[in-house]
C-alpha cells in the first residue's frame, strides 16, 4: 500500500510535469523575466559596484531582491498550480481521479511537480547566467553569491521554498472550488494579496532608518506575527540581511512556519477533496469576492 501511494505521487507528479513542459504558460514564465533582464542589460542598467561593496551594500541588495524574487516566483507557480487544479475540475475528471488516487497524493504530487518545475526554471537561469558571465567576463552574480555568507544563503533558499509551499497549498485549496476556467485568476488573487502585502512590508523594513528602533522594541510581538506563513518567509530574509534578527530567530521562524503549514496542509487536503467534489455549489472564496451571500458552506443545499 505504501509503495502504491509513492507510485501514485510519482505518477501524478510526472503527469503534471509532462503537461507543464508542453504548455505555453510554463515557458512564458521562464522567458519574460529574461526579456526584461535583456532590456536592462542592453540599456546598461545593471551595475552593482562591488569594489566598494561592503557588507551593508550586499545586504541591501538581498533585502530588496528577495521579496521581489519570492513574489515573482510565487505569482508564477501559484498560477500554474491553480490552473492545473482548475483544469482537473473543468475537465470533470476530478471525481474519477479521486476514486483512483486520494486527494492527499494528488496534492502532494502536484506540489512536488511544481517544485521540480521551479528547480528546472532556476537551473536554466543559473546556466544562462553562467554562460552570460563567461561570455561578457563580468562576474557580478558569482561575486554576489561568493560574498554572501553560506548560512544566509542556505536560509534564503529554505525560506523561499517555505513561502512558495504556503502559497501553493493555499492556492490549491481555493482553486479546487473553481468550476469554470475563467475563475482561475480570481482564485489566485487572495494568495497574491497576502504575498504582496508581505513584499511591501519587506520593502519598508529594508529602509533601515525607519525601522531599526521599532523592531527591537517590538521583537517579541514581531516574532509572533512573523510566524504566520508566508509573511514570515517574506520578511525574514530582509530582516536577516539587515541584521535585525538573529539566525536562531530566523531558523526558529522557519520551523514554526513549517509546523503551522503542516497543520494547514492537513486541513487543506480535506478542503481540497471537498472542493473537487463540489461541481454545483458556489465557490465560497469566489462568492465572498463577488459580494454574494455565501450561505452555509456546509454540505446542505436545501
Amino acid at each position: 500500500m505504501k509503495i502504491l501511494k509513492q507510485k501514485q505521487v510519482l505518477a501524478v507528479a510526472c503527469h503534471e510535469i509532462k503537461g507543464q513542459l508542453s504548455s505555453f504558460t510554463y515557458w512564458t514564465i521562464i522567458l519574460w523575466p529574461l526579456l526584461i533582464a535583456a532590456i536592462f542589460e542592453r540599456s546598461g542598467n545593471i551595475h552593482l559596484d562591488l569594489s566598494t561593496s561592503n557588507y551593508l551594500n550586499l545586504n541591501l541588495f538581498w533585502g530588496n531582491f528577495l521579496p521581489i524574487f519570492i513574489f515573482m516566483v510565487s505569482l508564477s507557480y501559484v498560477s500554474i498550480m491553480a490552473n492545473s487544479v482548475a483544469v482537473d475540475k473543468t475537465s470533470k475528471i476530478s471525481e474519477m481521479l479521486l476514486a483512483m488516487v486520494d486527494a492527499k497524493e494528488q496534492l502532494i504530487g502536484k506540489i512536488s511537480a511544481t517544485y521540480c518545475l521551479m528547480l528546472l526554471h532556476m537551473t536554466i537561469y543559473a546556466g544562462l547566467i553562467y554562460i552570460y558571465e563567461r561570455v561578457t567576463h563580468g562576474f557580478i552574480v558569482q561575486t554576489i553569491i561568493r560574498n554572501t555568507s553560506p548560512v544566509f544563503f542556505v536560509y534564503i533558499v529554505l525560506d523561499a521554498a517555505v513561502a512558495l509551499f504556503m502559497a501553493l497549498v493555499w492556492a490549491t485549496e481555493i482553486a479546487s472550488y473553481v468550476t469554470d476556467e475563467s475563475q482561475v485568476a480570481v482564485a489566485v488573487i487572495p494568495v497574491m494579496l497576502l504575498i504582496g502585502t508581505g513584499t511591501m512590508v519587506a520593502f519598508l523594513f529594508n529602509a533601515p532608518h525607519y525601522f531599526d528602533a521599532g523592531i527591537s522594541v517590538m521583537r517579541v510581538y514581531a516574532n509572533v506575527v512573523l510566524a504566520f506563513p508566508p509573511i514570515g518567509s517574506l520578511l525574514m530574509p530582509t530582516l536577516l540581511a539587515n541584521q535585525n534578527v538573529s539566525y536562531v530567530e530566523a531558523y526558529l521562524n522557519i520551523i514554526i512556519q513549517l509546523v503551522i503549514i503542516a497543520w494547514l496542509l492537513k486541513q487543506s487536503i480535506r478542503q481540497y477533496r471537498f472542493g473537487l467534489l463540489s461541481s454545483k455549489k458556489a465557490n465560497p472564496f469566489l462568492s465572498v469576492l463577488a459580494h454574494e451571500n455565501t450561505g452555509n458552506l456546509k454540505e446542505n443545499k436545501r
Binding site: H15, S91, K92, E95, M96, L98, L277, S279
Partner: protein, 302 residues
C-alpha cells in the same frame, strides 16, 4: 463481498438515502434504479468514501472499507463524463494505469486489447477532444476496467451509447462478472437491468421500495399480464371476474389481471372457441414495475 448495512445520508434536513441495506458477492451484478434524484449517485459516493454516511456501515468482507482499499479495488465511472481534452487516448489511459501501479508495457498491451474489444473508433494517439461522446465514454470505461477491479461502480454507463455500443458494454460487464468482479450500476434503461441484474434495488426519495433478485421482484407482483394472439371477443373477456383491463392489439389482446388465478378461467374460455396460437400469462416487465412504484399510492394494485 461488499455489504451496506442500514446506510443513511442527509443533506441538511433532506433525506438523500435512508436505511439502505444490500450485499453483493463476487461475480454478482446489482442494478440501482430510481428516478432522478432518488439517491443513486449519493449511494455510490458513500461507497467510494467521497461522503460519509450519517449512519450505517459499509463493509468489505466484513471490514470497513479503507481509502487505500477503495483506490486499489474499486473501478468507478462517474455520472459526469470527463477526461483531459488535450491528451491522447494513450497518454490518458497510461496515466490512469500508472495511478494503479501498473507497468507501462503491461498497460500498453491491455490498452490496445480493450480498445479493440470496445471498438473505440480511432487510434490511440488521437486526442480526447477529437472523440465523439460515446467514444470518450468508452475510453473512460477502459480506464476503470483495465486494472481488473474487484468492484466496478458504473453510474449510468449506458446513457449516450447507441444500441451497438450498449451491447458491447453489456458484454464487457458480463466478462468482468465471469472473472469474479462485483458490478453495481445505475441506469434508467430497464431492458439492461433485465439483461444483467442478479440483484435489483430501487430507490424512491432515498427509500428502498424494491429489493431482491429479478425473480423475487417479479413474484411480488405475480403473473398479472396476459397476451393472447388471435381474434378475441373483447367484451366477453371484460366480463370475466378478475380482469382489470383489456387492450386490443394488432395481433390479439393484452389483458391486465387483478389476480393470477383468473388466468385459468380465461384459458378455458378462449380455448373453448378453438385454436389459440399464443397464450402467454407473464410478469409485468420492469418498466411497468418501475412506473408503478413511482406513481403508486398506498391502495394501488398493479
Amino acid at each position: 463481498m461488499i455489504e451496506l448495512q442500514h446506510v443513511s445520508k442527509r443533506f441538511g434536513n433532506f433525506n438523500a438515502v435512508s436505511d439502505l441495506s444490500f450485499s453483493l458477492h463476487s461475480g454478482q451484478i446489482l442494478s440501482l434504479i430510481g428516478q432522478n434524484g432518488a439517491g443513486k449517485s449519493t449511494t455510490f459516493h458513500m461507497i467510494l468514501d467521497f461522503i460519509k454516511p450519517d449512519s450505517g456501515k459499509i463493509l468489505w468482507s466484513g471490514k470497513p472499507l479503507t481509502p487505500d482499499a477503495i483506490t486499489a479495488k474499486v473501478g468507478y465511472m462517474p455520472e459526469e463524463r470527463g477526461l483531459y481534452p488535450k491528451e491522447t487516448i494513450k497518454s490518458q489511459l497510461l496515466y490512469f494505469a500508472a495511478l494503479h501501479g501498473m507497468k507501462k508495457a503491461e498497460a500498453i498491451i491491455l490498452l490496445d486489447d480493450w480498445m479493440k474489444r470496445l471498438n473505440v473508433v480511432g487510434k490511440s494517439t488521437d486526442k480526447i477532444e477529437s472523440l465523439s461522446k460515446g467514444n470518450a465514454q468508452k475510453v473512460q470505461l477502459i480506464a476503470c476496467l483495465m486494472f481488473k477491479p474487484q468492484l466496478l461502480i458504473l453510474d449510468e454507463p449506458f446513457s449516450g451509447l447507441d444500441p451497438v455500443n450498449s451491447e458491447l458494454l453489456i458484454k464487457a460487464i458480463l466478462t468482468a462478472k465471469q472473472q469474479g468482479t462485483m458490478v453495481i450500476f445505475s441506469t434508467h434503461n430497464m431492458d439492461n437491468v433485465q439483461k444483467l441484474s442478479d440483484y435489483i434495488v430501487m430507490l424512491k426519495h432515498g427509500q428502498t421500495v424494491l429489493k431482491g433478485t429479478p425473480t423475487e421482484i417479479y413474484r411480488q407482483f405475480g403473473r398479472l399480464r396476459l397476451d393472447i394472439e388471435g381474434y378475441q371477443n373483447v367484451e366477453r373477456l371484460k366480463r370475466i371476474q378478475g380482469v382489470k383491463k383489456v387492450t386490443l392489439m394488432a395481433n390479439g389482446v393484452h389483458l391486465e389481471l387483478n389476480n393470477e388465478q383468473c388466468g385459468k378461467i380465461i384459458f378455458t374460455e378462449v380455448t373453448k372457441h378453438g385454436y389459440v396460437p399464443v397464450f402467454n400469462q407473464h410478469y409485468p416487465d420492469l418498466e411497468a414495475i418501475f412506473k408503478y412504484e413511482v406513481h403508486k399510492k398506498a391502495y394501488d394494485r398493479l
